[in-house]
Symmetry: C2
Subunit: 480 residues, 2 copies
């Protein structure tokens, strides 16, 4: 048992030190490796395969709404970045600058894209002339660079993978509709595929994106009670169009400015999955995005017929459309179990001489560790049912946990008490004044996560901070 | 007809000016747009969708051979790039340098990856310890940057999309096997999916990759008789492993150096497809990679029932698993035909009032412009057969053209005459001395494209250049 113990002991317990637990999991589950470039990560095969599964399913959902993929350059000339005032102020301090091409200094320095609004505007300016050219619903999958001072795997790194959608529309209404539509695509994806409940809402003026008229967000609650902004969708109105001169002639031959949106999610979603579903045994992946959904582990594999049967079961599962692997290494079964649990593989199949005699194998769920004996001829069907059940109960478990960590506060005393004693979202009314946001941030390092779409309850008439008349319900929280 | 004429006239004829024809096609077929960043292109929806189709099918073929995807940072510290001498000499003159992060100068400047051998070596050095850790068959899909002076859409740009596979093996034999295996994956893909015949072979010492022991290549012949290097696979031996210290303990507990390979193809393949299959009507895409395989074009679409029937036919084709669109714009049918041909859509379905009376629609092939009347109830089946037939005959046509442009030369007089009068590959024996390669390059701007695998014929005993005893058959040519 020494090897198994060693593997398990290598993770810090969640309760003891959540941050260290997280770092241990990303390393031990082989998702990430550190590189020689400070703040840049290497996505190892399992880490990248999760991203591929996210990408595939999101891309499908985007295309269903009429989105087309494109690819724009990774460099932005400094003069182009400078065109929209608020935008450049938001990003200039954290971009990487290219100053030399080959052996020669560049005439104008280029930044590596931190986001591509300016490039899309420059492109749209040329390709949009008439109302017939609208809408443009373009998206790109790429990496972006932000020169962050402090970094953490998946959550914040100097280079990260993402998608960025950029659309242009004839009317303000159409732009607003697209902004909300894409937020809902993200939210449904998180809940249905990542088994991760999210709160859909609007950001306050203080928290919105640099250059946007409005920013919508999905906020998830991590196991430690901190919030994670998991996806955002921005309505730019015609601000960028005016800065870049994106105009079209409408049906009545009048010149109009286009209305634009942008929306993105990143590999940060993988960090969210880890912190929502993981436990002291390691990573736990929802079956929908698990690179390997089932691991077949032979017991006493040197005994006659065991390996052959294990391979046969793998074949059966594969034919049932399941992503399955077999662990034929010479490690002990206990060690293999620990590894499979650490890597978050949702289901394992154990097969040994005794099971063979009984004509069955043992299926163990990663989430509940519950075991089921399954006759060989029912394996494919049962495994599919179990995977569906795991997907569902992972969502329910995460939702119960999230709901149990939402607290109401009616005044600053209650707010103070709650934020000092509990970890989670605090629902509190807000007057709409940024001073109150600033005070809460200063006092508790907490922020307005969002003003929810679906939760219009007025839990009080007055602002939780200043006591003046309240305008909006806000979910407050400490965030990653 | 004025609009149709305008659209068609906008392309220069191939015979008149092949380079201009090419530029016209990439623009008019809406594959590419120029960006504000000199030498960097924008891949528009159709251009990117072709790349997505290439990516999807190649990725599937890679994974069948046991390749796993990863993602490494886009930056390489200067000291890391400098570790392998030949490699840095090959790339240092053409990389883009990042010197500032945010407002501060970096301690060490970083280049934007021109290729990632050095990063993979740095990674492998840490993750390879034992023979159990081998092989590593990793690949990444990303963009790379090379600060080229002259650029052309798809063929040569400062940033381009590609995949780069990097593998590490226990033995030299295994590395060699993987190098050749991946070259064959590329070659089969080009022939089966891009309908583009290629010559598989080895590069000479002069033409091989910076730092490689051997480079294998696939060479295709463009319509104008110039060669295009379409994919390469490199065997590094243990050169990089020695420079980076990638060592493992073998089964007998001895320390050994790993043996490595790398291999890549780029968006250049799209340029190849254009120049192999295109004609004076524009782009012609093999059905396997065409974003839209069939365009349904209603004739007299305002007449009762026409649009409804056209939509029904689209539905039928979609259900048959075909990528199909319908052109419902208010342009004339003739203009729509020209657009569909310009965009290279392999098949069109015409449906008008007369066809409806006859219970049939007209299918027109893009490649031969041949028309077939097809009863409605046979549409799905017939369209699938026609697409398969187009795929096949596009390959055959390209192969006939290629084969008709391969010439033999037995001495320098023949070589000179051929290269001055013909365009294509010249087969000629070679003594193995670089002086002859240099002379041919100086005299005719032609290079040794490859020493073929499958063509071992000795067409003469002596070198086509110097007349000394010959060692190898070489395909010579002018190249993009």
């Amino acid at each position: 048992m020494s090897k198994e113990k060693k593997l398990v002991e290598a993770i810090t317990s969640m309760e003891e030190d959540f941050a260290q637990w997280y770092t241990d999991v990303v390393k031990k589950a082989e998702l990430i490796d550190y590189s020689s470039i400070k703040g840049c990560m290497i996505l190892k095969p399992d880490g990248y395969a999760i991203w591929e599964n996210i990408q595939k399913e999101l891309d499908r959902r985007f295309k269903e709404t009429g989105v087309e993929n494109v690819y724009l350059p990774m460099f932005i000339p400094e003069s182009l970045l400078n065109k929209e005032k608020e935008h450049v102020e938001g990003f200039a301090p954290e971009v990487a600058w290219v100053t030399h091409g080959g052996l020669n200094p560049l005439q104008e320095r280029l930044c590596v894209r931190p986001t591509s609004e300016t490039l899309f505007c420059d492109f749209y300016k040329n390709v949009i002339q008439s109302y017939r050219d609208l809408p443009k619903n373009y998206n790109q999958w790429c990496s972006v660079v932000r020169w962050e001072k402090e970094t953490r795997p998946f959550l914040r790194s100097r280079e990260f993978l993402w998608q960025e959608g950029h659309t242009a529309h004839a009317t303000a209404e159409e732009a607003e509709e697209r902004t909300v539509q894409m937020l809902n695509v993200y939210a449904d994806f998180c809940e249905e595929v990542l088994a991760m409940p999210v709160i859909r809402g609007k950001k306050t003026e203080k928290e919105k994106f640099a250059g946007a008229e409005a920013t919508y967000t999905i906020e998830a609650l991590m196991h430690d009670g901190k919030a994670l902004q998991s996806g955002t969708s921005h309505n730019f109105g015609d601000g960028f169009a005016k800065a870049f001169g994106i105009q079209y002639t409408d049906k009545d031959n009048r010149l109009q400015y286009a209305h634009q949106t942008s929306w993105g999610v990143t590999t940060r979603l993988i960090g969210a999955v880890i912190m929502v579903h993981g436990d002291d045994f390691g990573l736990a992946l929802p079956p929908e995005i698990a690179p390997t959904q089932v691991m077949v582990i032979p017991i006493q594999q040197r005994k006659e017929g065991v390996l052959e049967m294990a391979r046969k079961l793998k074949e059966t599962l594969s034919k049932a459309g399941i992503r399955v692997k077999i662990d034929e290494t010479d490690k002990s079964p206990g060690y293999k179990f620990s590894e499979q649990e650490m890597r978050g593989i949702p289901l394992r199949v154990e097969i040994g001489p005794k099971d063979m005699e009984a004509g069955q194998c043992i299926l163990t769920r990663r989430d509940t560790r519950e075991k089921t004996a399954v006759p060989f001829d029912q394996l494919g069907e049962t495994a599919k049912e179990l995977l569906a059940s795991i997907q569902k109960s992972m969502f329910e478990r995460a939702k119960s946990h999230r709901d149990a960590h939402i607290y109401d506060a009616h005044n600053y005393e209650e707010f103070t008490e709650t934020i000092q004693q509990k970890a989670g979202f605090i629902r509190g009314m807000w007057c709409g004044n940024q001073d109150c946001e600033d005070k809460i941030k200063e006092d508790f390092a907490a922020t307005a996560r969002c003003m929810p779409f679906h939760d219009q309850e007025e839990i009080s008439q007055v602002c939780v901070c200043c006591g003046k008349p309240a305008k909006k319900l806000v979910y407050w929280g400490k965030a990653y």
